[in-house]
């Protein structure tokens, strides 16, 4: 079984299903299909060799020969867990959706399949141009999912979402092409977009700087971090729940992953040059989004802004340029994906019990007759606020440790974000589950259709909490390799400074 099969299977299955299955059963068939994909992903995880340097399960053929674009896929420590996460969350979302009625089911599940293929492709791509293509392609299904199946001002929201993120992507497209062309110009080699080839041919410093800014812009918009988050409120508010679960859970991670996979190894000089800038953006973003999550009256937006805060932490960890920080960031991507998706499902479950409203003031007292739902929600909430004992704690701890090692002041301010997370997460939990019952609240126990989605994810969260080494061991070596070039630049410049003195 090659990676190509894993990537394209979701899309192929939804096409097959929508052609062959009557529309009543499309949902169930697609959900079943996504479990097959999940199984294949597990088989890759099992076969993944720990400590093996370089890519595993490589596929490499020339896609566009005259442009030097390769169809090159591979797994290493950076992406193996994220591929797993993608399959888990897409399966969860599809199973969740299959218990519900959708207006045009064929379109709905087709766009889900396309989204999964694109996200998996972006994670596995080992060619710069291929990555950019998948990165942009990812957006299209979400455009339709929000525009066709969203709520409220969905057309406005989806247009905003697409325009914001594509603006970033188009700059990235130019930057990516420029990388290929300039590398071949400056080193006199034939044009080649494969990351492995670009890695050994560093660009001149001036080129690195503007290219870095283009990439950073695209990624920061996609995550989003605070000054670039204009699309977030409308977009997340309108997205149908299963879409927002995967969008926040994995699509935003593609951007953070892009920093580790592409920016750090390819543009180490610019990374060091702009380290402070990105750290400050991330810090501002942590504080801002935490403050918004404190105050927003909307349960879904609490989760949305908490995920902005978490992604800011992840960015902070990556740009600590320390192996510990970057590894914490990568581990946190996995953890955050695993908690944010169930939180969105829980918000949907809460809204169903609060007369359809997602406002915190309409909720309250839902735990009364729903102890299992409350318990599941509590576990997820505690994981979100990075309770010691959870895997999120380990991730966040490593991130802060990394930042502490490189920029002390920033790590001290960032601690405020950790404290804030406890406040807004508990505010969400208490406001919804405890307190006085809202006017339209009917406390009902969690149904089987929610439980089959939530329970497995919560089990995975618990398992990671007990055995975080599972994630850390698989990622360690690749993260070190990703950070190494930037560390080298740092070391060289400090040597220079000493020499100048």
């Amino acid at each position: 079984v090659t990676l190509s099969i894993l990537i394209w299977l979701p899309l192929a299955l939804t096409i097959l299903v929508s052609l062959a299955v009557p529309s009543r059963f499309v949902g169930r068939a697609t959900a079943a299909g996504s479990l097959i994909t999940l199984g294949i992903a597990i088989s890759f995880l099992v076969r993944f060799k720990i400590g093996h340097p370089g890519l595993q399960f490589k596929t490499d053929t020339l896609w566009v020969s005259s442009l030097g674009i390769h169809y090159k896929l591979g797994l290493d420590g950076l992406n193996v867990l994220l591929v797993m996460l993608t399959c888990i969350l897409f399966s969860a979302s599809l199973v969740w959706s299959s218990f519900r009625e959708w207006d045009r089911p064929r379109s709905f599940y087709f766009h889900f399949g396309l989204a999964q293929s694109a996200v998996l492709g972006a994670f596995c791509a080992q060619d710069l141009a291929l990555f950019v293509a998948f990165f942009d392609l990812m957006l299209i299904p979400f455009y339709f999912l929000v525009g066709m199946f969203g709520t409220g001002e969905r057309v406005r929201a989806t247009t905003k979402l697409v325009v914001y993120t594509l603006v970033g992507s188009f700059f990235m497209l130019v930057a990516a092409i420029a990388t290929g062309v300039l590398v071949s110009d400056q080193h006199g080699t034939p044009i080649n977009f494969a990351l492995s080839a670009l890695q050994h041919l560093p660009l001149s410093h001036a080129s690195q700087e503007w290219i870095f800014l283009c990439f950073a812009f695209a990624f920061l918009v996609k995550m989003p971090l605070v000054p670039f988050h204009g699309w977030l409120a409308d977009g997340y508010k309108s997205m149908p729940i299963p879409a927002v679960a995967v969008f926040s859970g994995v699509v935003s991670k593609v951007a953070a992953y892009g920093f580790l996979r592409i920016v750090l190894p390819l543009f180490p000089f610019a990374t060091v040059h702009f380290q402070m800038l990105i750290l400050i953006v991330a810090l501002v973003s942590i504080l801002w989004s935490t403050a918004v999550a404190f105050t927003t009256p909307d349960a879904r937006m609490v989760v949305a802004y908490s995920s902005v805060a978490q992604l800011s932490f992840i960015t902070l960890g990556i740009f600590s340029l320390q192996p510990t920080g970057a590894q914490g960031a990568l581990f946190q991507m996995l953890n955050h994906g695993l908690v944010t998706a169930p939180l969105f499902f829980i918000v949907a479950a809460l809204a169903a019990r609060a007369g359809g409203s997602e406002m915190l003031k309409d909720m309250g007292g839902i735990a009364f007759r729903a102890p299992v739902l409350a318990a599941l929600a509590l576990i997820v909430t505690l994981a979100t606020l990075a309770m010691p004992g959870s895997a999120n704690f380990i991730g966040e701890f490593n991130i802060l440790l990394g930042v502490f090692q490189s920029k002390l002041a920033i790590s001290i301010i960032a601690f405020a974000g950790v404290v804030g997370a406890a406040y807004y997460a508990l505010r969400l939990y208490i406001g919804a589950m405890h307190n006085r019952a809202g006017p339209k609240v009917t406390s009902r126990e969690i149904g089987l259709n929610d439980a089959v989605v939530l329970v497995p994810i919560v089990l995975v969260i618990l398992a990671l909490a007990f055995y975080p080494q599972f994630g850390l061991r698989r990622t360690e070596q690749s993260v070190k390799a990703a950070v190494a070039p930037a560390k080298l630049v740092q070391a060289a410049s400090s040597v220079q400074q000493v020499a100048q003195r």
């Binding site: 005259s66 045009r104 064929r106 942009d136 057309v155 497209l173």
Partner: protein, 517 residues
């Protein structure tokens, strides 16, 4: 008198084999005209279009036969190389699509099938002459030969005021463009003393004018006027104002033909003239052309934003796209030529699919015409057409998975490679602006506000097959329009995923310019 009769004028030798792809179009035009005179309705309405398609197919076949046999024919007036043949195939493909779209259209009925189709073939012949020309005289001949039939075709819906207005407008403005062009050509001839491109190129690069184009007002004015003349045809800003009006008024199949084939012909002659004849003065005209491309990209995209008529919107979008393609001419490299020709083919497919949907939409809802609201809810009435339109729009916007992405990728590649990175940035900023109107079309089709769901009759039984039976029936009644829409949409996707064949194909066009790097 007698002297003339005694000394026989000796015509140049003509290599008929090399000329045959072009000749097929001209001969087809004449045959179709004559056949169209026959009284039988069946012959006029059915045989004439079929013959037209056969003529186009013959031209494609002959072009394939002559492929990779470059030849200069008729004393060097025409050069039938791979670029010319590829564009010839493009014109023929656009022509076939136009014939299919006009199969049930009003335009050929009101102006006569023979005349309509014959003019179409002759216009394509003019385009083929234009992009093969190696001589100022043939350039002018080609431009006129392609334009005059189009003036008439625009006005071919003789009972509709808008169509007549469009034809007249095009005639007046087109004539201004031609006059500008011919004046410019005359000045270039006056300055260099030659009409063929090779000699002009020689004079400009190594001859007496070498290095001093700016100091020679005659050749400078000449080149400027030629540029303006071409810009009129390619609807490059600021000479684009006729485009939306003419596109809106003309019969939709003709608009589709103009938007794709005429554009390709004009960009083709840009390549021929600036990258062959004037290549020696590249550092004079390239900045000007780059500035014009920038203006074109911005004006086209900004103009399209507020349009509610689909044809006007596609007209402005075509202006913007001309700007993208022009940037491939600017760099003056092999890569640039290849990127431009690649984009021309991509543009053909990405534009014909939407135009076919516009034709279908106009027919199913004549009261709405080509207004964007006619597409509202198309996704449930006719998901295939909505899908084709979506693919076309996403392709024009440059989304991955479509050939538009690869085309833009290649253009940016050529621009960065030719030290025009800033123009690449302009190109992507234009693409961002374009999302505003392309996505609006997609949103109209797929994301209309959910009304009360009709739970009676057919709509409840088959929500995918169609909510509006009469509209559905009309699309079933025009399978050829459906075929054009879906066929080109599939091409957009397939070439977006497997672009290599088209790459290798257009690589030959790049080799036609031996003087470029």
């Amino acid at each position: 008198m007698t002297a003339l009769a005694v000394v026989p004028l000796k015509g140049p030798h003509i290599d008929w084999a090399a000329f045959s792809p072009l000749l097929a179009l001209a001969a087809g035009g004449l045959i179709v005209l004559v056949v169209g005179l026959l009284p039988s309705r069946f012959v006029r309405h059915r045989v004439v279009p079929v013959l037209t398609v056969i003529a186009f197919l013959a031209s494609i076949g002959l072009a394939i036969w002559r492929f990779r046999h470059p030849a200069s024919i008729i004393s060097g007036a025409l050069r039938i190389d791979d670029l010319a043949l590829e564009l010839d195939m493009l014109f023929a493909a656009a022509g076939i699509a136009t014939v299919l779209l006009s199969w049930r259209d009003v335009a050929p009925h009101s102006s006569g099938h023979g005349e309509y189709h014959s003019l179409l073939l002759l216009s394509a012949f003019g385009m083929a002459v234009l992009v093969s020309s190696q001589d100022l005289i043939t350039v002018f001949l080609g431009i006129e030969l392609l334009s005059i039939p189009l003036y008439i075709l625009c006005a071919s819906e003789t009972r509709r005021e808008g169509s007549l207005e469009s034809g007249l407008k095009y005639l007046v403005i087109g004539s201004v463009g031609s006059a500008t062009l011919v004046y410019g050509l005359a000045l270039v001839y006056g300055a260099t003393g030659a009409t063929d491109f090779a000699t002009i190129g020689h004079a400009l690069s190594v001859g007496k004018l070498a290095g001093g184009v700016l100091s020679d007002p005659m050749v400078l004015t000449g080149l400027g006027l030629v540029l303006v003349g071409f810009a009129f045809k390619a609807s490059v800003a600021p000479f684009h104002q006729w485009t939306p009006d003419v596109y809106e008024g003309a019969p939709t199949p003709i608009t589709a033909f103009m938007a794709t084939a005429t554009k390709a012909a004009a960009i083709g002659v840009f390549l021929r003239f600036f990258d062959v004849a004037a290549i020696g003065t590249q550092n004079t005209w390239a900045p000007i052309l780059a500035a014009i491309a920038t203006i074109t990209i911005i004006v086209g995209n900004a103009g399209a934003l507020g349009q509610s008529s689909l044809k006007r919107m596609l007209g402005y979008s075509g202006v913007a796209q001309a700007g993208y393609m022009l940037s491939g001419v600017v760099v003056g490299t092999q890569l640039g030529v290849q990127a431009t020709v690649f984009y021309l083919f991509a543009y053909l497919a990405m534009n014909l699919a939407p135009f076919a949907v516009v034709v279908a939409s106009e027919r199913s809802q004549p009261e709405l015409g080509d207004d964007i609201s006619g597409l509202s809810g198309l996704s449930s009435r006719n998901p295939w057409l909505a899908g084709a339109m979506t693919v076309g729009m996403l392709g024009l916007a440059g989304i991955p998975g479509t050939v538009g992405f690869i085309g833009k990728f290649q253009l940016i590649h050529a621009l960065v490679n030719g030290d025009y990175t800033w123009l690449a940035i302009v190109l992507v900023i234009g693409s961002m602006l374009s999302l505003g109107y392309y996505l609006r079309v997609v949103a109209t089709m797929w994301m209309r506000p959910v009304g009360p769901r009709v739970a009676t009759g057919e709509a409840a039984l088959a929500p995918i097959a169609g909510g509006s039976p009469e509209a559905d029936a009309s699309s079933r009644a025009s399978p050829e329009v459906w075929f054009v829409a879906v066929g080109f949409a599939v091409a957009v996707i397939v070439l977006g995923i497997f672009p290599s064949p088209l790459f290798n194909f257009v690589a030959h066009a790049g080799h036609a310019f031996s003087g470029l790097f």
